[in-house]
Protein backbone atom coordinates (compact mmCIF):
# COMPACT_ATOMS: atom_id res chain seq x y z
CA UNK A 1 0.00 0.00 0.00
CA UNK A 2 1.37 3.38 -0.97
CA UNK A 3 1.90 5.79 1.85
CA UNK A 4 -0.24 8.85 1.54
CA UNK A 5 -0.06 12.07 3.49
CA UNK A 6 -2.59 11.90 6.29
CA UNK A 7 -2.89 15.62 6.83
CA UNK A 8 -2.75 17.97 3.91
CA UNK A 9 -4.41 21.26 3.04
CA UNK A 10 -7.96 20.73 1.92
CA UNK A 11 -7.26 21.94 -1.58
CA UNK A 12 -8.21 19.49 -4.24
CA UNK A 13 -6.57 17.53 -5.64
CA UNK A 14 -4.27 16.38 -2.92
CA UNK A 15 -0.57 16.13 -3.75
CA UNK A 16 1.23 12.89 -3.98
CA UNK A 17 4.13 12.33 -1.62
CA UNK A 18 7.40 13.71 -2.84
CA UNK A 19 9.03 11.21 -5.12
CA UNK A 20 12.51 10.43 -3.90
CA UNK A 21 13.59 8.89 -7.17
CA UNK A 22 12.88 11.76 -9.55
CA UNK A 23 14.68 11.58 -12.90
CA UNK A 24 18.14 12.96 -12.45
CA UNK A 25 18.56 14.22 -15.99
CA UNK A 26 21.39 16.53 -15.04
CA UNK A 27 23.50 13.88 -13.47
CA UNK A 28 23.54 15.86 -10.28
CA UNK A 29 23.87 12.74 -8.24
CA UNK A 30 23.61 12.88 -4.49
CA UNK A 31 25.81 15.09 -2.39
CA UNK A 32 24.90 13.04 0.63
CA UNK A 33 24.90 9.28 0.64
CA UNK A 34 21.55 8.36 2.08
CA UNK A 35 21.70 4.74 1.02
CA UNK A 36 22.46 3.46 4.52
CA UNK A 37 19.56 5.43 5.94
CA UNK A 38 17.23 4.19 3.23
CA UNK A 39 18.38 0.60 3.64
CA UNK A 40 18.03 0.62 7.40
CA UNK A 41 14.65 2.28 7.51
CA UNK A 42 13.40 -0.08 4.82
CA UNK A 43 14.56 -2.99 6.95
CA UNK A 44 12.68 -1.59 9.96
CA UNK A 45 9.55 -1.19 7.87
CA UNK A 46 9.93 -4.70 6.53
CA UNK A 47 10.30 -6.24 9.97
CA UNK A 48 7.38 -4.34 11.39
CA UNK A 49 5.34 -5.14 8.31
CA UNK A 50 5.71 -8.84 9.00
CA UNK A 51 3.29 -8.41 11.85
CA UNK A 52 1.57 -5.10 11.40
CA UNK A 53 -0.93 -4.68 8.61
CA UNK A 54 -1.25 -1.22 7.10
CA UNK A 55 -0.56 1.87 9.25
CA UNK A 56 2.09 3.08 6.76
CA UNK A 57 1.68 6.73 7.68
CA UNK A 58 2.07 5.85 11.32
CA UNK A 59 5.26 3.92 10.60
CA UNK A 60 6.66 6.78 8.55
CA UNK A 61 6.06 9.24 11.38
CA UNK A 62 7.58 6.86 13.91
CA UNK A 63 10.69 6.56 11.78
CA UNK A 64 10.85 10.32 11.40
CA UNK A 65 10.63 10.69 15.17
CA UNK A 66 13.33 8.07 15.61
CA UNK A 67 15.65 9.95 13.25
CA UNK A 68 14.75 13.35 14.72
CA UNK A 69 15.28 12.17 18.30
CA UNK A 70 11.76 12.98 19.40
CA UNK A 71 9.11 11.33 21.53
CA UNK A 72 5.80 10.26 20.08
CA UNK A 73 2.32 10.25 21.52
CA UNK A 74 0.00 7.80 19.81
CA UNK A 75 -3.68 8.46 20.21
CA UNK A 76 -6.49 6.25 19.09
CA UNK A 77 -9.42 4.25 20.23
CA UNK A 78 -8.70 0.90 21.86
CA UNK A 79 -7.80 -1.90 19.49
CA UNK A 80 -6.11 -0.08 16.61
CA UNK A 81 -2.63 -1.50 17.30
CA UNK A 82 -1.07 1.46 19.06
CA UNK A 83 0.73 -0.65 21.61
CA UNK A 84 1.57 -3.32 19.09
CA UNK A 85 3.16 -0.79 16.76
CA UNK A 86 5.25 0.68 19.54
CA UNK A 87 6.36 -2.78 20.68
CA UNK A 88 7.25 -3.78 17.14
CA UNK A 89 9.32 -0.67 16.57
CA UNK A 90 11.11 -1.27 19.84
CA UNK A 91 11.88 -4.83 18.81
CA UNK A 92 13.50 -3.71 15.57
CA UNK A 93 16.02 -1.69 17.55
CA UNK A 94 18.78 -3.60 19.27
CA UNK A 95 18.50 -1.60 22.45
CA UNK A 96 16.91 -2.19 25.87
CA UNK A 97 13.18 -1.75 25.97
CA UNK A 98 10.81 -1.29 28.87
CA UNK A 99 7.12 -0.89 29.20
CA UNK A 100 5.20 0.99 31.86
CA UNK A 101 1.48 0.57 32.19
CA UNK A 102 0.15 3.83 33.59
CA UNK A 103 -2.59 3.40 36.14
CA UNK A 104 -4.45 5.87 38.37
CA UNK A 105 -2.46 4.82 41.45
CA UNK A 106 0.99 4.94 39.83
CA UNK A 107 3.51 7.04 41.75
CA UNK A 108 6.43 9.04 40.29
CA UNK A 109 8.88 6.74 42.08
CA UNK A 110 7.32 3.79 40.24
CA UNK A 111 8.51 5.41 37.03
CA UNK A 112 11.75 7.14 37.92
CA UNK A 113 13.10 4.93 40.67
CA UNK A 114 13.62 5.30 44.38
CA UNK A 115 16.24 5.23 47.10
CA UNK A 116 16.51 1.99 49.00
CA UNK A 117 18.36 1.53 52.26
CA UNK A 118 21.22 -0.97 51.95
CA UNK A 119 22.01 -2.31 55.44
CA UNK A 120 25.41 -3.66 54.44
CA UNK A 121 26.56 -0.20 53.51
CA UNK A 122 24.45 1.66 55.96
CA UNK A 123 23.33 4.08 53.29
CA UNK A 124 20.65 4.64 50.70
CA UNK A 125 21.12 3.52 47.10
CA UNK A 126 19.17 4.72 44.09
CA UNK A 127 17.32 1.94 42.33
CA UNK A 128 16.54 2.94 38.75
CA UNK A 129 12.94 2.79 37.63
CA UNK A 130 11.69 1.48 34.30
CA UNK A 131 12.25 4.85 32.65
CA UNK A 132 15.98 3.98 32.55
CA UNK A 133 15.87 2.29 29.20
CA UNK A 134 16.40 3.24 25.58
CA UNK A 135 12.93 2.67 24.26
CA UNK A 136 10.17 3.21 26.80
CA UNK A 137 6.63 2.34 25.98
CA UNK A 138 4.24 4.16 28.28
CA UNK A 139 0.94 2.50 27.76
CA UNK A 140 -2.19 4.56 28.35
CA UNK A 141 -0.28 7.55 29.63
CA UNK A 142 -3.43 9.51 30.35
CA UNK A 143 -4.65 6.96 32.88
CA UNK A 144 -2.24 8.36 35.48
CA UNK A 145 -2.92 11.64 37.28
CA UNK A 146 -0.92 14.78 36.60
CA UNK A 147 1.44 14.15 39.52
CA UNK A 148 2.87 11.04 37.90
CA UNK A 149 2.81 12.50 34.43
CA UNK A 150 4.81 15.50 35.53
CA UNK A 151 7.52 13.17 36.73
CA UNK A 152 8.35 12.73 33.06
CA UNK A 153 9.04 16.42 32.40
CA UNK A 154 12.71 16.39 33.19
CA UNK A 155 13.54 12.99 31.79
CA UNK A 156 11.78 13.58 28.48
CA UNK A 157 13.38 16.94 27.81
CA UNK A 158 16.78 16.67 29.41
CA UNK A 159 17.35 12.93 29.31
CA UNK A 160 18.27 12.69 32.95
CA UNK A 161 16.61 12.16 36.32
CA UNK A 162 17.41 14.16 39.42
CA UNK A 163 16.70 12.30 42.66
CA UNK A 164 17.87 13.30 46.10
CA UNK A 165 19.97 16.00 44.53
CA UNK A 166 21.85 13.55 42.31
CA UNK A 167 21.46 13.63 38.54
CA UNK A 168 21.28 10.27 36.80
CA UNK A 169 21.94 10.42 33.07
CA UNK A 170 20.06 8.23 30.62
CA UNK A 171 21.83 6.48 27.80
CA UNK A 172 21.20 7.49 24.20
CA UNK A 173 19.02 6.81 22.36
CA UNK A 174 16.11 7.60 24.60
CA UNK A 175 12.72 7.46 23.00
CA UNK A 176 9.36 7.56 24.71
CA UNK A 177 6.46 6.06 22.84
CA UNK A 178 3.29 6.80 24.72
CA UNK A 179 -0.18 5.65 23.89
CA UNK A 180 -3.41 7.17 25.01
CA UNK A 181 -7.08 6.82 24.38
CA UNK A 182 -9.01 9.91 23.45
CA UNK A 183 -9.72 11.98 26.53
CA UNK A 184 -13.43 11.51 26.10
CA UNK A 185 -12.92 7.92 27.21
CA UNK A 186 -13.85 7.23 30.79
CA UNK A 187 -11.15 7.20 33.48
CA UNK A 188 -8.60 9.33 31.70
CA UNK A 189 -6.86 12.60 32.57
CA UNK A 190 -5.86 15.41 30.27
CA UNK A 191 -2.08 15.60 29.93
CA UNK A 192 -0.45 18.83 31.14
CA UNK A 193 0.46 21.25 28.37
CA UNK A 194 4.10 21.21 29.46
CA UNK A 195 4.24 17.48 28.95
CA UNK A 196 2.41 17.54 25.64
CA UNK A 197 4.95 20.06 24.40
CA UNK A 198 7.69 17.51 25.01
CA UNK A 199 6.30 15.15 22.44
CA UNK A 200 7.63 15.69 18.94
CA UNK A 201 4.48 14.29 17.35
CA UNK A 202 1.00 13.41 18.35
CA UNK A 203 -0.06 10.79 15.86
CA UNK A 204 -3.69 9.87 15.44
CA UNK A 205 -3.96 6.17 14.81
CA UNK A 206 -6.91 5.53 12.52
CA UNK A 207 -8.99 2.43 12.00
CA UNK A 208 -7.65 0.10 9.32
CA UNK A 209 -9.24 0.16 5.91
CA UNK A 210 -11.58 -2.65 4.97
CA UNK A 211 -8.89 -4.35 2.90
CA UNK A 212 -6.42 -4.10 5.75
CA UNK A 213 -8.95 -5.49 8.18
CA UNK A 214 -9.53 -8.47 5.91
CA UNK A 215 -5.78 -9.11 5.94
CA UNK A 216 -5.75 -8.87 9.73
CA UNK A 217 -8.55 -11.41 9.95
CA UNK A 218 -6.80 -13.76 7.54
CA UNK A 219 -3.64 -13.56 9.60
CA UNK A 220 -5.46 -14.41 12.80
CA UNK A 221 -7.38 -17.18 11.10
CA UNK A 222 -4.25 -18.96 9.85
CA UNK A 223 -2.10 -18.51 12.92
CA UNK A 224 -3.60 -20.07 16.05
CA UNK A 225 -0.90 -18.68 18.31
CA UNK A 226 -1.59 -15.12 17.40
CA UNK A 227 0.95 -12.76 15.94
CA UNK A 228 4.58 -13.91 15.62
CA UNK A 229 5.94 -10.99 17.61
CA UNK A 230 9.07 -12.87 18.55
CA UNK A 231 9.97 -13.34 14.90
CA UNK A 232 10.69 -9.64 14.51
CA UNK A 233 14.44 -9.16 14.47
CA UNK A 234 16.42 -6.14 15.58
CA UNK A 235 17.86 -4.42 12.53
CA UNK A 236 19.09 -1.11 13.92
CA UNK A 237 21.77 -0.75 16.58
CA UNK A 238 22.20 2.27 18.83
CA UNK A 239 25.49 3.24 17.19
CA UNK A 240 23.95 3.02 13.76
CA UNK A 241 21.03 5.15 14.82
CA UNK A 242 23.40 7.80 16.14
CA UNK A 243 25.09 7.94 12.74
CA UNK A 244 21.80 8.31 10.94
CA UNK A 245 20.75 11.09 13.28
CA UNK A 246 23.98 12.92 12.64
CA UNK A 247 23.34 12.63 8.93
CA UNK A 248 19.84 14.03 9.33
CA UNK A 249 21.20 16.92 11.32
CA UNK A 250 23.28 18.00 8.30
CA UNK A 251 20.35 18.28 5.92
CA UNK A 252 20.25 21.42 3.77
CA UNK A 253 17.65 24.00 4.71
CA UNK A 254 17.15 27.01 2.48
CA UNK A 255 17.09 30.19 4.65
CA UNK A 256 13.57 31.18 3.67
CA UNK A 257 12.32 27.86 4.97
CA UNK A 258 13.34 28.95 8.46
CA UNK A 259 11.09 31.96 8.01
CA UNK A 260 8.35 29.73 6.68
CA UNK A 261 8.46 27.52 9.77
CA UNK A 262 8.62 30.52 12.09
CA UNK A 263 5.66 32.19 10.37
CA UNK A 264 3.60 29.03 10.51
CA UNK A 265 4.22 28.47 14.19
CA UNK A 266 4.05 32.18 15.00
CA UNK A 267 0.54 32.40 13.58
CA UNK A 268 -0.67 30.00 16.25
CA UNK A 269 0.12 32.65 18.84
CA UNK A 270 -2.06 35.31 17.25
CA UNK A 271 -4.83 33.20 15.75
CA UNK A 272 -8.18 34.32 17.09
CA UNK A 273 -9.44 30.74 17.38
CA UNK A 274 -6.63 29.73 19.71
CA UNK A 275 -5.96 30.69 23.26
CA UNK A 276 -2.75 28.70 23.49
CA UNK A 277 -0.27 28.84 20.66
CA UNK A 278 2.77 26.72 19.96
CA UNK A 279 6.11 27.35 21.60
CA UNK A 280 9.51 27.78 19.93
CA UNK A 281 10.04 24.14 20.83
CA UNK A 282 7.35 23.44 18.24
CA UNK A 283 9.33 25.34 15.59
CA UNK A 284 12.41 23.31 16.39
CA UNK A 285 10.37 20.12 16.29
CA UNK A 286 8.90 21.04 12.93
CA UNK A 287 12.29 21.80 11.46
CA UNK A 288 13.95 18.66 12.83
CA UNK A 289 11.02 16.54 11.73
CA UNK A 290 11.10 18.02 8.23
CA UNK A 291 14.80 17.26 7.95
CA UNK A 292 14.22 13.66 8.96
CA UNK A 293 11.26 13.28 6.64
CA UNK A 294 13.28 14.64 3.72
CA UNK A 295 16.02 12.13 4.45
CA UNK A 296 13.51 9.34 4.71
CA UNK A 297 12.19 10.34 1.29
CA UNK A 298 15.64 10.27 -0.22
CA UNK A 299 16.50 13.96 -0.23
CA UNK A 300 19.29 15.81 1.50
CA UNK A 301 17.31 19.05 1.57
CA UNK A 302 14.01 20.14 3.05
CA UNK A 303 11.09 21.37 0.96
CA UNK A 304 7.96 23.23 2.05
CA UNK A 305 6.09 20.02 1.34
CA UNK A 306 7.92 18.36 4.24
CA UNK A 307 6.98 21.20 6.57
CA UNK A 308 3.34 21.17 5.53
CA UNK A 309 3.15 17.40 5.86
CA UNK A 310 4.43 17.45 9.42
CA UNK A 311 2.63 20.56 10.65
CA UNK A 312 -0.47 18.70 11.94
CA UNK A 313 1.33 16.03 13.99
CA UNK A 314 3.73 18.63 15.37
CA UNK A 315 1.16 21.29 16.21
CA UNK A 316 -2.10 19.53 17.02
CA UNK A 317 -1.22 18.77 20.64
CA UNK A 318 0.51 22.06 21.25
CA UNK A 319 -2.38 24.38 20.45
CA UNK A 320 -5.63 24.83 22.31
CA UNK A 321 -8.80 26.13 20.78
CA UNK A 322 -11.04 28.70 22.37
CA UNK A 323 -14.24 27.24 23.84
CA UNK A 324 -16.29 28.98 21.15
CA UNK A 325 -14.42 27.18 18.36
CA UNK A 326 -14.68 23.87 20.17
CA UNK A 327 -18.41 24.39 20.48
CA UNK A 328 -18.53 24.93 16.75
CA UNK A 329 -17.01 21.50 16.33
CA UNK A 330 -13.61 22.64 15.07
CA UNK A 331 -10.52 20.66 15.99
CA UNK A 332 -6.80 21.44 16.10
CA UNK A 333 -6.27 19.94 12.66
CA UNK A 334 -8.83 22.33 11.15
CA UNK A 335 -6.91 25.28 12.57
CA UNK A 336 -3.57 23.91 11.38
CA UNK A 337 -5.01 23.56 7.88
CA UNK A 338 -6.15 27.19 8.04
CA UNK A 339 -2.68 28.24 9.15
CA UNK A 340 -1.06 26.40 6.26
CA UNK A 341 -3.36 28.23 3.88
CA UNK A 342 -2.39 31.58 5.33
CA UNK A 343 1.34 31.33 4.83
CA UNK A 344 2.91 31.71 1.44
CA UNK A 345 5.21 28.90 0.43
CA UNK A 346 8.75 30.17 -0.15
CA UNK A 347 9.65 29.55 -3.76
Amino acid sequence: MEPTPDHTPDTAPQPQPAAPAAPDTLGLGQRTDLSQLAGTTDAVRREVGRVLVGQHDLMELLLVALLADGHVLLEGVPGVAKTLTAKLLARTLAVPFSRIQFTPDLMPSDVLGTSVYVPARGSFEFRQGPIFSNIVLIDEINRAPAKTQSALFEVMEERHVTYDGVTHQLEAPFLVLATQNPIEQEGTYRLPEAQLDRFLFKVLVPYPTQEEEVLILQGHHSGPGGLPLEDVKPVLAAQQLAQLRAQVQKQHVEPRLFEYVAKLVGLTRTHKSLYLGASPRASIALLNGAKALAALRGRDFVTPEDVQHLAPPVLRHRIQLTPERELEGLGPDDIVRQLIQQVEVPR
Binding site: P9, Q16, A18, D24, L28, R299, P304, R347
Partner: protein
Amino acid sequence: MPLLRFRFSGRRTAGGLLALLLLAAAPLPASAQKARPKTTQRAPAVLPPGPAPAAVRRFSAAELQRLRADDDLQYRQDPPPDNPVLRWFQQLLRRIFRVVFSPESGIYWKILFYALAVGALVLVVLQLLGLKPGEWLRGRGRRVPVPYALEADDVHEETLPDRLRAAEEAGQWRLATRLGYLLVLKQLTDRALIDWQPQKTNHHYDAELRQRGPALAPAFGALTWQFEYVWYGEFALSREQYAQVQAERRAFLTTLTTRNHAA
Protein backbone atom coordinates in the same frame (compact mmCIF):
# COMPACT_ATOMS: atom_id res chain seq x y z
CA MET B 1 -115.91 28.22 48.45
CA PRO B 2 -114.04 26.39 45.71
CA LEU B 3 -112.99 23.54 48.03
CA LEU B 4 -116.50 22.62 48.47
CA ARG B 5 -116.60 21.76 44.84
CA PHE B 6 -114.39 18.70 45.40
CA ARG B 7 -116.12 15.52 45.83
CA PHE B 8 -115.14 13.83 49.01
CA SER B 9 -114.88 10.14 48.73
CA GLY B 10 -115.28 8.51 52.05
CA ARG B 11 -112.22 6.58 53.44
CA ARG B 12 -109.47 8.17 51.24
CA THR B 13 -110.17 11.63 52.53
CA ALA B 14 -110.22 10.53 56.13
CA GLY B 15 -106.82 8.74 55.76
CA GLY B 16 -105.21 11.83 54.25
CA LEU B 17 -106.37 14.03 57.09
CA LEU B 18 -105.05 11.57 59.63
CA ALA B 19 -101.61 11.56 57.99
CA LEU B 20 -101.48 15.32 58.02
CA LEU B 21 -102.32 15.40 61.69
CA LEU B 22 -99.60 12.89 62.52
CA LEU B 23 -97.01 14.84 60.58
CA ALA B 24 -97.94 18.03 62.32
CA ALA B 25 -97.68 16.38 65.73
CA ALA B 26 -94.26 14.75 65.07
CA PRO B 27 -91.13 16.56 66.59
CA LEU B 28 -88.87 18.42 64.15
CA PRO B 29 -85.19 17.40 63.73
CA ALA B 30 -82.59 19.43 65.63
CA SER B 31 -81.30 21.26 62.54
CA ALA B 32 -84.78 22.21 61.58
CA GLN B 33 -85.41 23.42 65.05
CA LYS B 34 -82.25 25.60 64.93
CA ALA B 35 -83.19 27.00 61.59
CA ARG B 36 -86.57 27.97 62.81
CA PRO B 37 -86.64 31.69 63.43
CA LYS B 38 -86.95 32.60 67.02
CA THR B 39 -89.93 34.44 68.10
CA THR B 40 -89.25 38.14 68.44
CA GLN B 41 -88.92 39.41 71.96
CA ARG B 42 -91.22 41.96 73.04
CA ALA B 43 -89.68 45.51 73.01
CA PRO B 44 -89.10 47.16 76.36
CA ALA B 45 -91.51 49.70 77.23
CA VAL B 46 -88.84 52.46 77.70
CA LEU B 47 -85.99 53.02 75.14
CA PRO B 48 -82.45 53.38 76.56
CA PRO B 49 -80.72 56.68 76.04
CA GLY B 50 -78.94 57.05 72.59
CA PRO B 51 -75.14 57.17 72.15
CA ALA B 52 -73.22 60.36 72.66
CA PRO B 53 -72.60 62.34 69.46
CA ALA B 54 -69.39 61.06 67.63
CA ALA B 55 -66.33 63.23 67.87
CA VAL B 56 -65.08 64.20 64.42
CA ARG B 57 -61.51 63.17 63.95
CA ARG B 58 -59.28 64.81 61.36
CA PHE B 59 -56.09 63.71 59.65
CA SER B 60 -52.94 65.34 60.76
CA ALA B 61 -51.86 67.71 58.07
CA ALA B 62 -48.20 67.05 58.86
CA GLU B 63 -48.67 63.30 58.71
CA LEU B 64 -50.49 63.64 55.42
CA GLN B 65 -47.67 65.70 54.05
CA ARG B 66 -45.13 63.13 55.19
CA LEU B 67 -47.01 60.28 53.59
CA ARG B 68 -47.43 62.19 50.37
CA ALA B 69 -43.71 62.80 50.24
CA ASP B 70 -42.81 59.16 50.91
CA ASP B 71 -41.31 57.54 47.76
CA ASP B 72 -42.57 54.12 48.75
CA LEU B 73 -46.13 55.34 48.53
CA GLN B 74 -45.96 56.81 45.05
CA TYR B 75 -48.27 54.71 42.90
CA ARG B 76 -48.78 57.22 40.20
CA GLN B 77 -48.06 55.94 36.66
CA ASP B 78 -45.65 57.80 34.45
CA PRO B 79 -47.30 59.79 31.76
CA PRO B 80 -46.71 58.64 28.17
CA PRO B 81 -43.27 59.59 26.88
CA ASP B 82 -42.82 62.97 25.37
CA ASN B 83 -40.59 61.57 22.65
CA PRO B 84 -42.87 61.10 19.62
CA VAL B 85 -40.86 58.09 18.39
CA LEU B 86 -41.20 56.34 21.75
CA ARG B 87 -44.86 57.22 21.90
CA TRP B 88 -45.35 55.80 18.42
CA PHE B 89 -43.45 52.62 19.40
CA GLN B 90 -45.57 52.28 22.53
CA GLN B 91 -48.74 52.66 20.56
CA LEU B 92 -47.49 50.17 18.00
CA LEU B 93 -46.80 47.59 20.68
CA ARG B 94 -50.24 48.16 22.21
CA ARG B 95 -51.85 47.76 18.83
CA ILE B 96 -49.91 44.58 18.13
CA PHE B 97 -50.83 43.04 21.46
CA ARG B 98 -54.44 44.10 20.97
CA VAL B 99 -54.55 42.49 17.53
CA VAL B 100 -52.77 39.32 18.57
CA PHE B 101 -54.51 38.66 21.83
CA SER B 102 -58.00 39.95 21.18
CA PRO B 103 -60.69 37.26 21.16
CA GLU B 104 -61.52 38.07 17.55
CA SER B 105 -57.97 37.48 16.23
CA GLY B 106 -57.27 34.14 14.60
CA ILE B 107 -54.91 31.45 15.85
CA TYR B 108 -52.44 32.24 13.04
CA TRP B 109 -51.57 35.61 14.51
CA LYS B 110 -50.82 33.98 17.82
CA ILE B 111 -48.61 31.29 16.20
CA LEU B 112 -46.73 33.94 14.24
CA PHE B 113 -46.19 36.00 17.36
CA TYR B 114 -44.90 33.07 19.41
CA ALA B 115 -42.63 31.91 16.55
CA LEU B 116 -41.08 35.36 16.31
CA ALA B 117 -40.63 35.50 20.07
CA VAL B 118 -38.92 32.08 20.16
CA GLY B 119 -36.69 33.09 17.25
CA ALA B 120 -35.64 36.25 19.03
CA LEU B 121 -34.92 34.27 22.18
CA VAL B 122 -32.76 31.77 20.30
CA LEU B 123 -30.79 34.59 18.70
CA VAL B 124 -30.16 36.16 22.06
CA VAL B 125 -28.99 32.86 23.56
CA LEU B 126 -26.66 32.22 20.61
CA GLN B 127 -25.25 35.68 20.96
CA LEU B 128 -24.67 35.15 24.66
CA LEU B 129 -22.88 31.87 23.96
CA GLY B 130 -20.62 33.62 21.50
CA LEU B 131 -21.91 31.60 18.56
CA LYS B 132 -22.32 34.37 16.08
CA PRO B 133 -25.65 33.48 14.50
CA GLY B 134 -24.63 34.50 11.00
CA GLU B 135 -21.53 32.35 10.99
CA TRP B 136 -23.33 29.53 12.71
CA LEU B 137 -26.04 29.48 10.08
CA ARG B 138 -23.45 29.52 7.30
CA GLY B 139 -21.98 26.28 8.64
CA ARG B 140 -19.06 25.08 10.61
CA GLY B 141 -16.58 24.52 7.85
CA ARG B 142 -16.26 28.11 6.88
CA ARG B 143 -12.89 29.43 5.94
CA VAL B 144 -11.08 32.32 7.45
CA PRO B 145 -10.24 34.94 4.84
CA VAL B 146 -6.62 34.58 3.95
CA PRO B 147 -4.60 37.79 4.15
CA TYR B 148 -1.88 37.02 1.67
CA ALA B 149 1.14 39.21 1.54
CA LEU B 150 2.43 38.41 -1.90
CA GLU B 151 6.12 38.73 -2.24
CA ALA B 152 8.10 40.15 -5.08
CA ASP B 153 8.35 36.83 -6.86
CA ASP B 154 4.68 36.37 -7.50
CA VAL B 155 4.31 34.03 -10.41
CA HIS B 156 2.11 36.51 -12.27
CA GLU B 157 4.67 39.24 -12.19
CA GLU B 158 5.10 40.68 -15.65
CA THR B 159 8.80 41.27 -15.29
CA LEU B 160 9.60 37.60 -14.81
CA PRO B 161 11.11 37.03 -18.32
CA ASP B 162 13.25 40.13 -17.99
CA ARG B 163 14.50 39.11 -14.58
CA LEU B 164 15.28 35.64 -15.87
CA ARG B 165 17.29 37.09 -18.74
CA ALA B 166 19.15 39.38 -16.36
CA ALA B 167 20.00 36.48 -14.05
CA GLU B 168 21.28 34.41 -16.98
CA GLU B 169 23.40 37.31 -18.21
CA ALA B 170 24.82 37.79 -14.73
CA GLY B 171 25.66 34.10 -14.48
CA GLN B 172 23.39 33.60 -11.47
CA TRP B 173 22.48 30.08 -12.47
CA ARG B 174 20.74 29.15 -9.25
CA LEU B 175 18.52 32.23 -9.37
CA ALA B 176 17.90 31.68 -13.06
CA THR B 177 16.78 28.11 -12.36
CA ARG B 178 14.29 29.44 -9.84
CA LEU B 179 12.94 32.19 -12.08
CA GLY B 180 12.71 29.73 -14.96
CA TYR B 181 10.61 27.41 -12.82
CA LEU B 182 8.34 30.28 -11.81
CA LEU B 183 7.93 31.04 -15.51
CA VAL B 184 6.85 27.45 -16.09
CA LEU B 185 4.27 27.77 -13.30
CA LYS B 186 2.99 30.98 -14.87
CA GLN B 187 2.54 29.33 -18.25
CA LEU B 188 0.71 26.41 -16.66
CA THR B 189 -1.52 28.82 -14.74
CA ASP B 190 -2.30 30.86 -17.86
CA ARG B 191 -3.44 27.66 -19.59
CA ALA B 192 -5.57 26.67 -16.59
CA LEU B 193 -3.56 23.49 -16.12
CA ILE B 194 -2.85 24.42 -12.51
CA ASP B 195 -4.48 26.80 -10.04
CA TRP B 196 -1.85 29.08 -8.63
CA GLN B 197 -2.22 29.67 -4.94
CA PRO B 198 0.56 31.04 -2.75
CA GLN B 199 0.16 28.35 -0.10
CA LYS B 200 0.45 25.41 -2.50
CA THR B 201 3.58 23.39 -2.83
CA ASN B 202 5.04 22.14 -6.09
CA HIS B 203 3.56 18.76 -5.42
CA HIS B 204 0.08 20.22 -5.29
CA TYR B 205 0.71 21.48 -8.83
CA ASP B 206 2.11 18.11 -9.82
CA ALA B 207 -1.09 16.47 -8.63
CA GLU B 208 -3.23 19.01 -10.53
CA LEU B 209 -1.25 18.52 -13.70
CA ARG B 210 -1.65 14.76 -13.48
CA GLN B 211 -5.38 15.34 -13.68
CA ARG B 212 -5.56 18.13 -16.24
CA GLY B 213 -2.58 17.43 -18.46
CA PRO B 214 -1.22 13.99 -17.69
CA ALA B 215 1.07 14.00 -20.74
CA LEU B 216 3.00 16.91 -19.26
CA ALA B 217 3.32 15.50 -15.78
CA PRO B 218 6.58 13.50 -16.18
CA ALA B 219 8.45 16.43 -17.72
CA PHE B 220 7.06 18.78 -15.09
CA GLY B 221 8.14 16.33 -12.38
CA ALA B 222 11.70 16.47 -13.73
CA LEU B 223 11.68 20.28 -13.78
CA THR B 224 10.32 20.31 -10.25
CA TRP B 225 13.07 18.01 -9.05
CA GLN B 226 15.71 20.23 -10.68
CA PHE B 227 14.26 23.35 -9.12
CA GLU B 228 13.96 21.84 -5.66
CA TYR B 229 17.41 20.32 -5.77
CA VAL B 230 18.99 23.58 -6.91
CA TRP B 231 16.91 26.04 -4.89
CA TYR B 232 15.90 24.30 -1.67
CA GLY B 233 19.00 22.14 -1.77
CA GLU B 234 21.21 25.21 -2.19
CA PHE B 235 23.05 23.56 -5.04
CA ALA B 236 25.53 25.77 -6.89
CA LEU B 237 25.18 24.45 -10.41
CA SER B 238 27.65 25.11 -13.19
CA ARG B 239 27.04 26.86 -16.50
CA GLU B 240 26.85 23.51 -18.30
CA GLN B 241 24.37 22.16 -15.82
CA TYR B 242 22.26 25.27 -16.15
CA ALA B 243 22.33 24.92 -19.92
CA GLN B 244 20.77 21.49 -19.47
CA VAL B 245 18.14 22.93 -17.11
CA GLN B 246 17.40 25.71 -19.57
CA ALA B 247 17.08 23.29 -22.49
CA GLU B 248 14.63 21.09 -20.62
CA ARG B 249 12.58 24.07 -19.55
CA ARG B 250 12.40 25.44 -23.09
CA ALA B 251 11.41 22.06 -24.44
CA PHE B 252 8.66 21.85 -21.87
CA LEU B 253 7.37 25.33 -22.69
CA THR B 254 7.45 24.55 -26.41
CA THR B 255 5.44 21.41 -25.84
CA LEU B 256 3.07 23.37 -23.67
CA THR B 257 2.39 26.03 -26.28
CA THR B 258 2.11 23.76 -29.33
CA ARG B 259 -0.13 20.97 -28.10
CA ASN B 260 -3.56 20.65 -26.65
CA HIS B 261 -3.03 18.99 -23.30
CA ALA B 262 -6.51 18.78 -22.10
CA ALA B 263 -7.06 15.43 -20.45
